[in-house]
């Protein structure tokens, strides 16, 4: 039997880059570590090129347990982009904080590899392995600023809760295996089609546990309590990476498993998922209002956005899938941007994460002020920015699927979120005496990352058609 290795190409490239970064790190002097940034970026670009080259193919490897379809490739590109922006925005951060550079970049790359595997996995065990590769990498990244007590604490909390959730997820997989006789998603789906009565309690329990495990990973309320602490304590670029890429990976798995392969069970989990979406949006937004730290506010806002994304999962179907993928793109751009500006405010030991530190930023650093205003408006859902277009399609998919109540609650929630997003803008332009913010000369890579995020936010808002087509094509390729 011949093994088709093509589906593994982009992810293999990422692993190779990670290993070369790790090895090279041993042999170069501390002032030459900038080289590692370039190697990582070139590796990511190569992997991105491979994924583009493979676009449109539909292949499987290892008895179809890894699939190479447009859906997997879409997410591959998203994760590669997220990793590249994370690396760009952490270049200055890791030097200031004495984090070991080589290991940091290598771990970002290895987590990215895990995410790619999650999006491409067509077998629950492979999905689990991808998830663990990603999670273990991110646990370490969270605690990498070892001199800081908060970082260790955040890593501990993240690790305990992540491992706990893993236990549930794995138990769910075991029960599904018992009921369906296989962990391969295609065979589970066909087993579902054949018999309804056989082992149905075990199957339901398994799906429920899998559901809980994934809900922990996407930080849906009531499984969200770790998010603010972990995002707060982790190095800021890692928080951004977690908020965007880890969440996107969990949603990718969720979409492939629940929206496609296990869709015969849809009627069973629509109601709990709907409750989860409403709770997540509302609780996330309500708690975000009362925060005094912008970093914690962004953590709660990422919970609220997970709630919006859950709407797409409830809606399902083509419009739901399209909205999910497009919103993940927009969310990635604006969240990376907002965290990027937060990184730019850091000076030495002082993080400058409170609202008051943003005071007067609009006059002191006009570019940062302008960029942050754009991200906040986009997160709140103002037209013509990415957040508006994304939310429009999310709510539309809910209406198309007949969940008008969900669309209304979502719209009310985004109205609520305006309160705390606008507070940042008010601070930046109407108060005085906050932090200085790094000038361009001191952090060129960070400015580049923010500029990319600005471009993404504006482009996806003004000209959404190409990205929407891309999202639709990618989602359809699942079927």
């Amino acid at each position: 039997m011949e093994t088709n290795l093509a589906p593994l190409l982009p992810s293999a490239e990422v692993v190779l880059t990670a290993l070369s970064v790790l090895l090279l790190d041993l042999f170069i002097r501390k002032d030459e570590k900038g080289l590692l940034v370039w190697i990582s970026l070139i590796g990511l670009a190569l992997a991105g090129g491979m994924a583009l080259f493979l676009w449109g193919s539909h292949e499987g490897a290892f008895q179809d347990s890894i699939l190479l379809d447009d859906f997997a490739l879409f997410f591959t590109e998203l994760f590669l982009g997220a990793a590249a922006i994370t690396i760009l925005s952490s270049v200055h951060y890791v030097r200031e904080t004495n984090i070991h550079e080589g290991e940091f970049y290598a771990l970002v790359l290895l987590s990215t590899f895990g995410m790619i595997l999650m999006a491409a996995a067509n077998d629950l065990i492979l999905f689990f392995l991808g998830l663990e590769t990603m999670s273990i990498g991110v646990y370490i990244l969270t605690g990498m600023w070892r001199e800081r007590s908060q970082a260790s604490e955040a890593a501990m909390k993240y690790f305990l809760i992540g491992a706990f959730a893993t236990g549930f997820l794995l138990y769910g997989i075991a029960l599904i295996y018992g009921a369906a006789g296989s962990t391969h998603l295609g065979r589970i789906a066909s087993a579902l089609g054949q018999t309804k009565s056989h082992g149905s309690i075990i199957l339901s329990a398994g799906v429920f546990l899998l559901f809980v495990g994934l809900a922990f990973k996407v930080a849906a309320v009531p499984f969200h309590f770790w998010v603010p602490d972990v995002y707060d304590g982790a190095p800021t670029p890692v928080s951004a990476f977690m908020a965007v890429a880890v969440k996107a990976a969990a949603f990718a798995g969720w979409a492939r498993i629940f929206l496609y392969q296990l869709s015969p069970l849809q009627s069973e989990w629509t109601l709990p998922l709907k409750a989860l979406a409403i709770l997540t949006m509302t609780v996330g937004n309500l708690l975000a209002i009362s925060q005094s730290s912008v970093k914690r506010m962004l953590a709660y806002s990422s919970i609220a956005h997970a709630g919006y994304l859950l709407i797409a999962l409830v809606a399902g179907g083509e419009s739901g899938g399209q909205a999910l993928l497009f919103y993940l793109l927009s969310y990635a751009a604006m969240t990376f941007g907002a965290f990027g500006v937060l990184i730019a405010l850091k000076e030495g030991e002082n993080d400058h994460e409170a609202y008051s530190d943003f005071a007067g930023l609009g006059f002191k650093r006009p570019f940062l002020g302008m960029a942050m205003s754009l991200f906040m408006l986009s997160l709140a859902g103002f037209p013509p920015l990415a957040g508006f277009t994304g939310k429009f399609y999310l709510f539309r998919s809910a209406v198309v699927a007949g969940h008008i109540d969900l669309a209304i609650i979502g719209a009310l929630n985004s109205l609520l979120s305006v309160v705390y997003y606008l507070r940042v803008i008010v601070m930046m332009y109407m108060e005085e005496g906050g932090a200085e913010g790094k000038p361009f000369a001191r952090a060129p890579y960070l400015y580049l990352a923010i500029a990319i995020a600005v471009l993404g936010t504006v482009y996806l808002g003004v000209l959404p058609a190409p990205a929407l087509d891309l999202s639709r094509i990618s989602f359809i390729s699942l079927h």
């Binding site: 646990y139 605690g143 908060q150 260790s152 604490e153 491992a163 236990g167 075991a174 006789g181 962990t183």
Partner: protein, 100 residues
């Protein structure tokens, strides 16, 4: 051979003990052990199903799970050491720098 249900009930009980340990105990190392207990309960489920279904898949999966559990334990212990260096304590109740 004992019926399948016996194994499933036993592994469910072990899993529940693990969950209870994570929730109740007040020492990171014991919590880590409880998580390992949860994963091993899952392994037992896999093995029982593999025997019942007569498929090798479940037995192979157990090796993967054991590897992952080992990797997780390594990282967990490293984080425990780093936290112990900061505060000379392994009590979760003392993690107050970030409010839960």
């Amino acid at each position: 051979m004992a019926p399948l249900n016996y194994y499933l009930v036993l592994s469910a009980i072990i899993f529940a003990i693990g969950v209870a340990g994570v929730v109740i105990r007040r020492n990171f190392i014991v919590i880590l052990l409880s998580i390992e207990l949860m994963l091993n309960a899952v392994n037992l489920t896999f093995i029982a199903f593999a025997r019942y279904l007569g498929s090798m898949e479940g037995q192979v999966i157990v090796f993967f799970v054991m590897t992952v559990a080992a990797a997780e334990a390594v990282v967990g212990l490293a984080i425990i050491i780093s936290i112990f260096r900061h505060r000379r304590s392994l009590d979760p109740r003392e993690m107050q720098l970030l409010k839960w």
